[in-house]
């Protein structure tokens, strides 16, 4: 980074921060299973990493995408390190269905499972359950048909269910 750019960096960083903080926090919070503490820690750590990385590499073209990728990796690391709290009274469909709703333990459990799935399945389920995006929109992003996405979702769901079954109640039948 040149000298004059270096001098401007704190202002640029704050401008990006103000533009992105709400969206990044929402992105993290949806994956933090209702834990405000976790959401705040991850958000804070993500921006601190940006203060170290951006002066060297320059501001990315799409800072929010960069921040979301870092936040996602931080969350994955967090979930990989810990055991999930079991959900006694819920069945698997309820767990998956309520993952996108606000502040549920189900979301935390799903995120824990996603951290252990392969990246392709995880991304797909994340888009569908955590971000609540419709199949058509996901299909457009992946550049495939809705039918193909439905097939992939079905396979990804099965893989996730296998992972989550030991952590949910007795009604966790696979469909």
């Amino acid at each position: 980074m040149k000298d004059n750019e270096s001098a401007q960096f704190p202002d640029q960083l704050i401008a990006v921060y103000r533009e992105t903080v709400n969206q990044l926090y929402e992105f993290v919070s949806r994956r933090a299973g209702g834990s405000r503490e976790l959401a705040e820690d991850v958000t804070q750590e993500t921006y601190l990493r940006a203060t170290t990385a951006w002066p060297k590499s320059g501001l990315p073209d799409c800072p929010l995408a960069w921040l979301q990728t870092v936040a996602r990796n931080l969350l994955l690391n967090h979930y990989r390190r810990r055991q999930p709290a079991p959900l006694d009274s819920a069945d698997i469909d309820t767990v998956l269905g309520s993952a996108a709703s606000d502040g549920t333990e189900a979301a935390a459990l799903v995120c824990w499972g996603l951290a252990r799935l392969n990246a392709r399945h995880a991304r797909l389920l994340e888009a569908f359950y955590i971000d609540g995006r419709p199949v058509r929109s996901i299909a457009d992003d992946f550049g495939v048909t809705e039918r193909a996405i439905e097939g992939r979702l079905r396979r990804a769901r099965l893989a996730l269910r296998k992972l989550l079954l030991p952590h949910v109640g007795t009604k966790g039948e696979m469909t």
Partner: protein, 309 residues
């Protein structure tokens, strides 16, 4: 945004303070690396330099030249866009004075309200151009490249320059359509005048619908409803469609001319060479139409096929 997923304002403020002080404290962008890092780096360089010297000289020279050229290119692009903005601003000032004078002359009864409206429209166009050039400068300063006006261009530091430029165009076209509508209503009885205006009205509405379609495609892309490939192809289709329609109209028109000239030849009122000239023109128009049709078909097929499977 759902309130559950909204950050606590205190958290946001505290983090902003922390980031600002961290960014300033680090000051690492001006300072060199730490002493330890320098030591390690020196050692590595000393051992590796002998073996790699010959290769490094060539690579470093290439890199330095490329880096310098890239920097110079960015500076040139920014300087060029700033110069364009200056021209646009100067033009805007001239038009502002011209508009004031036109309004004054209209108030004195020398010019008609219609002439004032036309001048206002021209001024709005020039004003929108200047605003678009200002956006170009902002974009060039961020990217160091020429403005990217494609529908799949990325958002830059939270700014959607493509939509902003399209909105400027849209505002001017809306003004144009409304002015023409007003003029059509005022000249309803004059047949020549109204038919000319109807054509203008049609052209202005078509231009507006193109901009609105581009805006919709851009929003589709940003919302994730369409991929970059899909919006670019859809845009291509949208620009080919009017060409196809125009070519089809031309074929119909020439077909009528050809029938007429054949009748004239049969009656001995036109020569065969005159008929051949019209035939040639007709064939060229048919070819033009078929090419546009083909282009549309290719685009339709490309749009229908999945991009990655």
């Amino acid at each position: 945004m759902n309130t559950t997923h909204r950050p606590d304002p205190d958290f946001v403020d505290n983090l902003e303070r922390e980031l600002r002080s961290t960014a300033r404290r680090q000051g690492r962008f001006n300072n060199g690396p730490s002493a330890r890092a320098v030591g390690i780096r020196k050692l590595r360089w000393t051992t590796g330099l002998v073996a790699l010297a010959a290769m490094c000289v060539g690579s470093a020279a290439t890199f330095a030249v490329t880096y310098r050229l890239r920097g110079q290119t960015a500076d040139l692009i920014i300087a060029r866009s700033e110069a364009r903005l200056e021209f646009a601003d100067a033009r805007l000032e001239l038009f502002r004075e011209e508009l004031q004078e036109t309004e004054a002359r209209a108030a004195a009864g020398v010019l008609t309200p219609r002439e004032v409206d036309s001048m206002r429209l021209e001024f709005a166009q020039v004003e929108a151009d200047a605003a678009a050039r200002a956006l170009d400068v902002e974009e060039a300063r961020i990217t160091g490249r020429d403005p990217d006006n494609s529908l799949s261009a990325p958002i830059l530091r939270g700014r959607d320059f493509v939509t902003e430029r399209l909105e400027l165009e849209r505002a001017v076209l809306l003004q144009r359509v409304s002015l023409i509508d007003k003029q059509v209503a005022a000249h309803g009885s004059d047949l020549n005048e109204s038919s000319m205006m109807a054509r203008e009205q049609e052209a202005a509405r078509a231009a507006l619908s193109i901009i609105e379609e581009r805006l919709a495609l851009r929003q589709n892309y940003l919302s994730g409803a369409r991929t970059a490939r899909q919006v670019e192809l859809a845009q291509m289709r949208f620009s080919v469609e009017p060409q196809r329609e125009m070519a089809a109209r031309r074929v119909n028109e020439l077909q009528r001319q050809l029938d007429r000239v054949h009748t004239l030849v049969e009656n001995g009122m036109a020569t065969r060479s005159e008929a051949r000239a019209v035939e040639m023109e007709f064939r060229a128009a048919v070819l033009q139409r078929d090419l546009a049709e083909l282009e549309m078909q290719i685009l339709e097929r490309k749009l229908a096929e999945p991009s990655d499977q």
